[in-house]
Symmetry: C2
Amino acid sequence: MKIGLLGHGVVGSGVRKIIDRQLSDETKQLEIVKILVKSEAEMTDARMTLDADDILNDPSIDTVCECMGGLEPAHSFIKKALQEHKNAVTSNKKMLAAFAEELFALAQENHVQLKYEAACGGGIPWIHELEHIQRIDEIHYFKGIFNGTSNYILTRMNNENKEFGAMIKEAQGLGYAERDPSDDIDGWDVRYKTVLSSLAAFHTIVDPEEIPTFGIRNITKEEIAFCHEHGYVCKLIGSGADHDNFVSIFVRPCFVKKEDVFASIPLNYNALECDSDTLGKAVFIGQGAGSLPTAHAVVQDLIAIAKHEHASMQTYEHKPVSAGDEQGVFYLRTKKTALFNPSLIDHRIGSDAFVTKKISFMDMRVAAESLNDESVFLAEVAE
Amino acid sequence: MKIGLLGHGVVGSGVRKIIDRQLSDETKQLEIVKILVKSEAEMTDARMTLDADDILNDPSIDTVCECMGGLEPAHSFIKKALQEHKNAVTSNKKMLAAFAEELFALAQENHVQLKYEAACGGGIPWIHELEHIQRIDEIHYFKGIFNGTSNYILTRMNNENKEFGAMIKEAQGLGYAERDPSDDIDGWDVRYKTVLSSLAAFHTIVDPEEIPTFGIRNITKEEIAFCHEHGYVCKLIGSGADHDNFVSIFVRPCFVKKEDVFASIPLNYNALECDSDTLGKAVFIGQGAGSLPTAHAVVQDLIAIAKHEHASMQTYEHKPVSAGDEQGVFYLRTKKTALFNPSLIDHRIGSDAFVTKKISFMDMRVAAESLNDESVFLAEVAE
């Protein structure tokens, strides 16, 4: 299978290395014939080009592999590739979460594959397993630690009593966090991954903006102390459950019990759980990012396309996000406690924090957002 | 695909239920046409028979599915099925570990498949994932909690300070443990599963008897107290690593650090880890037994055969088991401490237990077995 590689950064160069070494029977079926790079300086190989059309207009290329990141031009390139009857593999969660409806319709119309294993869960064969389980079962829910950077920060804060500010600087120094870390610490990255998980698990397309999303930006030593005192560990969790007329998806820090498997997920690892009819609860743990684990996931998609393993063409239903009957207990710290409806408070912790009664996460979102407090920290508390 | 089901107990009846409900496109490709049962009383369905030859001699049956357990007649039935050019799927770890060399040679000779997902890791897609990862990578090692019954006992002993004897009775009452619990508590079940994991991960056949195997039969509250005091949790672990001329496989209780993922695996769950070139460390957690999770694994094998997904026919190399350079630190409790070489002891714990210096597990096996103490308890101590 002839592949055009779009992007040669951390993931793209890993994909090139894995395919070029030709170590297995399966990777020997793959050949990268052209590679789009960003500058003359990166043109270290006869396959490299600065012009995407060299790839998108080349009829000998079966499959395009996008590892560029960002919304544009990644989206336009994938769109054109699908229109040109090329299969597409992407590691770009933000782009795919935003354009899933358009791109999957295009793939179906042009009878080609669009695959995204690397966009969700890095090296964990998460999308593959969700699809594999559905050969037999329906998936009821998924839940997991989807972001390695925030898990790295939370693990170190928990173990070493460090401040959030010092940890984010260290993560940036190590290359784990971007200069603008918002995607990782405000929960947006997890939001995109819950959108992609719903696609695979429930065949449902949701609007990312509808998903209540709380991050870890405002966590302090106070919360870590609260967790230690009550036998909890704080983790950033994304979850989703399927219902007839809606999906309930939610991204928020959780105070999980220290005996819980999620509590022991170290540093930059991810852990993803699903539950289904006959298989029951299954958890998958692996590196959520990194050049080679993510590139491994991309190459698995390419092999599946080369081997024609795709399931029958999938159709997706657009559904709204709602909380339904699902409720939780929440920890909230805010300078504006006086503005919070006291009938929803179970008990107070010091002057600026409290634990709520059971409340739906949609109601919690409205209550938290109406405080209009930029320093608010919210977490669900495991029962 | 027409299937003959051998055995209609816990797993076999689960397989029948999943296939008969015909819920997915994939299970609709499967049809159970005959079912071997043990007595007239079990003949509740027109497909049932008391004569295995009704299945093994039926040329319309493509695939035989063995869920009987035990060495014979399961082994003879599978052998005959393969000779009759039928694919075979088995959930029988003990039989397959004992006859792997003969049966895989027969499968190859007759150009049929022999699959065993359910024999190792219950509902965890462990064998599938080991094979899937090898589309790209070589597997370096595997390690895991392979036995749900012993994990149930250890979890309850750890959390509730119960005695081993009380826990084994309770597990028997719940149907988690057999009347003769030796396979589960003496490590034999884990031994068989490490043999099957080596088959899938390293394409290596080993003699089960060569694997040093220590169980949890002699664990007492003293060990649990030692673990609590030093931040450990005791788990029964099987592991394997591939080398050029040998494999190192070892089954033993381990005192793992309480922050370790393995420490948090609850009750009857299994957790299986592997490490490979580009994917790195991956951990899979799920129900290690139970009618439907195990039956799910059997049906996944049947679907893979129906879809002709088999990799190229695998050949297996027979290798000896050796420790190589691998060393560990061990906790040992014995009434015969005086017989143990004192130069290997790092420090003593009370009058009848001690922690060794670093020592190879093959040397540890020889030293422990030469004590000839039926009440000896041995565990590896994580560093």
